[in-house]
């Protein structure tokens, strides 16, 4: 066994996109890590922080630090939530008694793809995904965590995967958290531009390091009746080629966000 990772599951993944976390666990286990999920966790505080309510975000951040204080290493299937801990906790908790713990925790908190490539030093995870895929460079991962190549390195090792580059891959998809609700017209327009870039690739799937981007894009793509579906990075890597075709299609339907409506 390689060691233990503590899973940090973003609140919206926990409540709305559980498959993202399930596939993250699957991949981590497959490459030899024990995964523990501190069940006491709730939210890193990002929604309040981003909206300017730092006094409300602060106690959540402190709670988070306490919940994960014992962790050897923390892995999170989201660039934006990882950013919250790595980039913003030090400032947010500058006056807190937990400041030093926060800084120490930040140094061992990783986004999923950077954990695989930079910490575990693995790019080949034994995945099979015989489909065309295009990659959207989620903003937090790209510009706050400086994740440029890691997801691509992982995707290039996936058996059968045809990676197609999209133009303007680094342009924001338009989600931006509460921005999507407060400025929904602009958010949708940005999403539509992104959908056009995606459509131009002709890829069957689009993936990213942030499931929030993918949730927003699936909504936009679905409204346009686009053929491309979104799928989180770990969900691609979780495909191991051991299931038969119909099982694979079914599990794929669950993993892509374009499920049938309940």
């Amino acid at each position: 066994m390689k060691g233990k990772v503590s899973l940090f599951v973003p609140c919206f993944v926990d409540q709305l996109l559980p498959q993202v976390a399930l596939d993250t666990v699957k991949v981590l286990r497959r490459i030899g890590y024990t995964v523990e999920f501190p069940e006491d966790q709730t939210c890193c505080g990002q929604p309040a922080f981003n909206t300017g309510y730092w006094d409300d975000a602060r106690p959540c951040a402190e709670r988070f630090v306490r919940v994960f204080r014992h962790a050897d290493v923390v892995v999170c299937p989201s660039g934006s939530c990882t950013t919250m801990v790595r980039t913003f906790y030090a400032d947010l908790l500058a006056a807190s008694s937990l400041r030093d713990d926060a800084i120490a925790l930040a140094s061992r908190t990783f986004e999923f793809s950077e954990f695989l490539v930079k910490v575990a030093a693995i790019t080949q995870v034994g995945a099979t995904f015989p489909h065309s895929v295009t990659y959207h460079a989620s903003c937090h991962g790209l510009r706050e965590l400086h994740i440029h190549d890691e997801p691509l390195q992982l995707l290039r090792q996936v058996k059968g995967l045809n990676l197609i580059e999209m133009t303007r891959s680094q342009e924001c998809c338009g989600f931006g958290g509460t921005f999507a609700a407060k400025f929904s017209d602009i958010s949708a327009a940005m999403g539509t531009s992104k959908a056009e870039s995606i459509a131009a690739t002709g890829a069957e799937f689009v993936t990213a390091t942030d499931p929030s981007c993918l949730m927003h894009l699936q909504g936009i793509l679905g409204k346009r009746n686009a053929s491309t579906r979104t799928i989180y990075l770990a969900s691609i890597l979780a495909q191991d080629g051991q299931t038969n075709a119909s099982q694979a299609r079914e599990s794929l339907a669950k993993k892509s966000f374009a499920e049938a409506q309940p």
Binding site: C11, E39, T42, C139, C172, G176, F183, M190, G219, F257
Partner: protein, 472 residues
């Protein structure tokens, strides 16, 4: 009741977001800029080193602002120039207006200056019966349309040639034979040339105030700025106090970086340096030289150590060009002198956080602006700080404050959080089951207006984890 700035912004943003023609025009303009910018970057061996140096120069200037402003003033005054320090728009406009009326100025030719837009100098002069000609080609165009500049570097980038040809036909009283850009420029040249040679006063801005040499530096391409500062009898410079740089040699890196970020050029066609009125023995030049140093809220921003670096801005426009929000709503939607990321960061400081905080929220915080800023201003983090400042100033809605109070309570208590999540999923499932999706009662109607609904999972991750754990 008239709409607030925030309400107007939302309305204009809604219209522009849906305007596919506008998006196409801007997209083409920005693609052109992107290509030129890449070429420009390739001419600089180490772009990151260049940004670092520019940041250092501006940081030194701003953090010793009094020293460098006084050095600049001393040199200008020693040559007979006049330096006037204006606390705000009113004082700046009054100075220029009084100067103009005292010297019997009937016509002013003006080269591009965002500060003059900020203080509404054109309006103040026209009220005093003085004719003001905007001579920058893009500014000339938007002046005829009676609108403000769309972009701080390319004021008319939202217009197609056909629209400009029609505009000239309507407003210039002459037959316009073609919409070819070269033809239209020639028309403007003829019209403005008369103005250059008859105006009594030329007004310019300044890209930089060089402290050790006591000169202003202006970066232009068209030559209109040159003519404004060569022919009329009086030259007035209107500039923000933050434009100062320590040394003449600093321009060796600032000029190429400004040009690269602004237009993709290696350097602008004209890098003009002016230290005063004409000296005896010179063939021509203005007889009087005035510099109006405008504060208008800048000294207040200076006092905020967290955001002081916002004053480092060299007004290149790169952040506007890369911003996906700007690309989708355009410059006019912001309703401010300065649009785009720098405008969103700066305007609450110049014009009040209560009225303009919405601009700091109208961003997905993607960080592209920060990544291109040639003086390394941490723009998107300043937007975050503005949001925090807004809530701390009590400028946000009470309902939102309460909502986050409740949210915090839930997040501090896992059982409440889990119950809250479960209830939300349940409520949505019921709503969808009742066919309320898309209706006024749809709790997710903001989402569902533009997107297909989020699929609802049967159980949360933690419930599944607990179930799996119990099974083993």
């Amino acid at each position: 009741m008239s709409a607030t700035a925030a309400q107007r912004f939302l309305q204009d943003a809604a219209v522009k977001s849906a305007d596919l023609m506008h998006r196409e025009v801007i997209r083409r303009g920005m693609d052109s800029y992107d290509a030129a910018h890449l070429k420009g970057r390739a001419r600089i061996k180490d772009w990151e080193a260049a940004r670092q140096r520019c940041q250092e120069i501006k940081r030194e200037a701003i953090n010793h602002l009094d020293r460098y402003l006084l050095q600049f003033e001393e040199k200008v005054a020693a040559r007979g120039g006049h330096v006037f320090w204006a606390a705000n728009s009113e004082e700046a406009c009054a100075y220029v207006k009084n100067l103009a009326t005292r010297l019997n100025v009937k016509t002013v030719v003006k080269s591009k200056s965002m500060v003059t837009e900020e203080i509404h100098l054109g309006t103040a002069l026209e009220k005093a019966g003085i004719k003001v000609w905007e001579t920058d080609f893009g500014e000339f165009i938007v002046q005829l349309r009676e609108e403000g500049p769309y972009h701080i570097v390319t004021p008319a980038m939202h217009l197609l040639r056909g629209q400009i040809a029609t505009l000239f036909q309507e407003k210039l009283g002459q037959k316009i034979e073609s919409d070819d850009p070269a033809y239209l420029m020639a028309v403007a040249r003829r019209v403005l040339r008369e103005a250059f040679f008859s105006a009594e006063m030329g007004i310019s801005g300044a890209n930089f105030l060089v402290a050790d040499a006591g000169v202003i530096a202006i970066s232009t391409n068209e030559g209109n700025g040159r003519l404004c500062t060569s022919i009329p009898r009086i030259h007035v410079v209107v500039t923000g106090i933050e434009k100062v740089i320590p040394r003449l040699e600093d321009l060796a890196v600032l000029w190429p970086v400004l040009a690269t970020s602004g237009t993709g050029q290696g350097i602008t066609t004209y890098g003009t340096l002016i230290g005063g009125a004409r000296q005896s023995g010179e063939a021509d030049g203005p007889e009087e030289f005035h510099v109006v140093l405008v504060d208008n809220g800048r000294s207040q921003l200076l006092a905020d150590p967290e955001q002081r670096e916002v004053l480092h801005c060299i007004r290149c426009g790169a952040c506007l060009n890369i911003c996906p929000v700007f690309r989708h709503v355009g410059g006019h939607t912001y309703g401010t002198t300065y649009p785009g990321p720098i405008g969103s960061v700066l305007t609450p400081h110049l014009n009040g956080i209560k009225e303009f905080k919405h601009l700091s929220y109208a961003s997905s915080l993607c960080g592209a602006c920060t990544s291109v800023c040639p003086v390394k201003i941490d723009l998107h983090h300043h937007l975050l700080q503005n949001r925090r400042n807004a809530t701390e100033a009590g400028a946000t809605k009470a309902s939102e404050r309460l909502m986050f109070r409740a949210w915090r309570h839930a997040m501090l208590h896992p059982r409440i959080y889990a119950l809250g999540g479960w209830s939300m999923r349940k409520a949505l499932r019921i709503a969808y089951g009742l066919g309320l999706q898309g209706s006024i009662l749809d709790p997710m109607r903001v989402w569902n207006r533009y997107r297909s609904p989020v699929p609802l999972p049967a159980e949360s991750f933690r419930a599944r984890w607990r179930r799996d754990r119990a099974a083993n």
